[in-house]
Symmetry: none
Subunit: 263 residues, 2 copies
């Protein structure tokens, strides 16, 4: 029973860590995520601002450092778009579900956005995702073993397929390399494709997070078509022709609007 009861003050550390990454803080979102009132979040922000760790703004707080961060900026930019997708995906999760997070940087971004009181269990074959989930420490984790594919960053061999064959997954988040109306969803690695097909077969709800450039990628191994995926979570500013083609191919789209306040 050592589950998920996190220390109250660790919340402030989490906020501080996010600020250190250059991320903006929205008081209302944090309140929901940590399952506390907005007053508590505001107190934390006030304390952090008093320590000079952030700047208070209407609706939340912003990190202080605005000057030179060459590398982190680029990562932060890419992360921002992926985080919007991830936030929309997190909102689709029901409490207590058995989730599978497939390998992929967008799925990795989901881990930090999962609410604290989520009673879900996460299974994954990605070492990076497993590492992130374990670092949180409040989510039960099931790791899929097997020979590790260095391109995928996780196990996609026969033993990994056999492991998920024995799972009843409530909701899986698929990582894909390319999407098109003609070829459906595809990936680069053959073994990865076999693994993902099995994953889709064993999952009740199947979701894929798609950054806009994925619609113009090409990959050799087809996983399936529109009938094999329940939802594609796409960016808000997806070009109209891409969207039209996807819808006509039978895909159900969920637009991830960055409702994160104005700005």
């Amino acid at each position: 029973m050592i589950m998920s009861n996190s220390l109250p003050l660790s919340r402030r550390d989490v906020i501080e860590a996010r600020l250190a990454e250059g991320r903006q803080i929205i008081a209302a979102s944090l309140a929901v995520e940590f399952n506390v009132s907005e007053d508590a979040v505001r107190r934390d922000l006030r304390a952090l601002a008093a320590e000079g760790k952030c700047r208070r703004v209407y609706g939340g707080a912003l990190p202080l450092l605005t000057s030179s961060r060459p590398i982190s900026d680029r990562i932060g930019q890419a992360s921002d778009r992926k985080r919007v997708l991830a936030q929309a995906a997190v909102a689709m999760i029901e409490p207590g579900e058995f989730l599978f997070l497939d390998s992929g940087s967008t799925n990795l971004a989901m881990v930090d956005l999962l609410p604290k009181d989520l009673g879900a269990t996460i299974a994954t074959n990605s070492i990076d995702i497993a590492s992130a989930v374990m670092k949180r420490g409040d989510i039960p984790l099931v790791l899929i073993g097997g020979a590790v594919d260095p391109v995928v960053g996780g196990s996609v061999d026969a033993s990994a397929v056999a492991a998920i064959e024995a799972m009843n997954i409530d909701r899986c988040f698929l990582g894909v390399c390319a999407v098109s109306a003609r070829n459906g969803i595809s990936v680069y690695e053959h073994a990865d494709a076999i693994f993902k097909r099995t994953l889709l077969k064993r999952s009740a709800a199947r979701i894929a997070l798609i950054t806009s450039e994925k619609f113009h990628e090409r990959a050799p191994h087809r996983i399936g078509g529109a009938g094999d995926i329940d939802w594609l979570v796409v960016e808000d500013d997806l070009p109209a022709d891409d969207e039209k083609a996807a819808v006509e191919a039978g895909f159900s789209l969920v637009k991830a609007s960055n409702v994160t306040s104005s700005s």
Copy 2:
């Protein structure tokens, strides 16, 4: 039900060990787990905080350097001593072997010290070690899956045991929590002990890296005695009485002299 009838002193050691692993301590949970009042736990936390081992927070305590860099900071603390042990352990590896690296920060230190042209394959159940091996990118990796034990940082459940039952390991590096002449080698977690016993059974050569303080730790679950381990890699400055007791208990010691040179 783990009823620890162990010595009162051991409780504080267990708490310290958990903090060293980066885990957060919740006073109320600890009180239930050790079957003592919260006052006793708070007294321990106060003492540990006074020693600089942790940071007290409302509701329990947090490890000191955990928010920003949980892994690298821990390694940075005792990196010198552990790197010496790890270097000695790496020297025992033969080319082309199938290795198993058990969970543990000392074994983790081995990953970065492995030579480039090593034709070995590494298997592990530790997420941190898998992450480090994958980051290198030049070593074939086999990951042991299963439900992840948050204390161990990897899988030690029945499926993990079943996975290594099918392996013929040339050389395994065991992670242990405590060593003594009377009780042999021991760990904190029951499932971890079962896993390690199977690991020893499936391994041709069995090695454990032991920092000196492990000789004065206590842990509830015994893995085995001197006959179950081929080599204990110990520090150069191991106290003479500890060394004498270990040798008389039948252990074969390898002293890791810090003549690492270079760098």
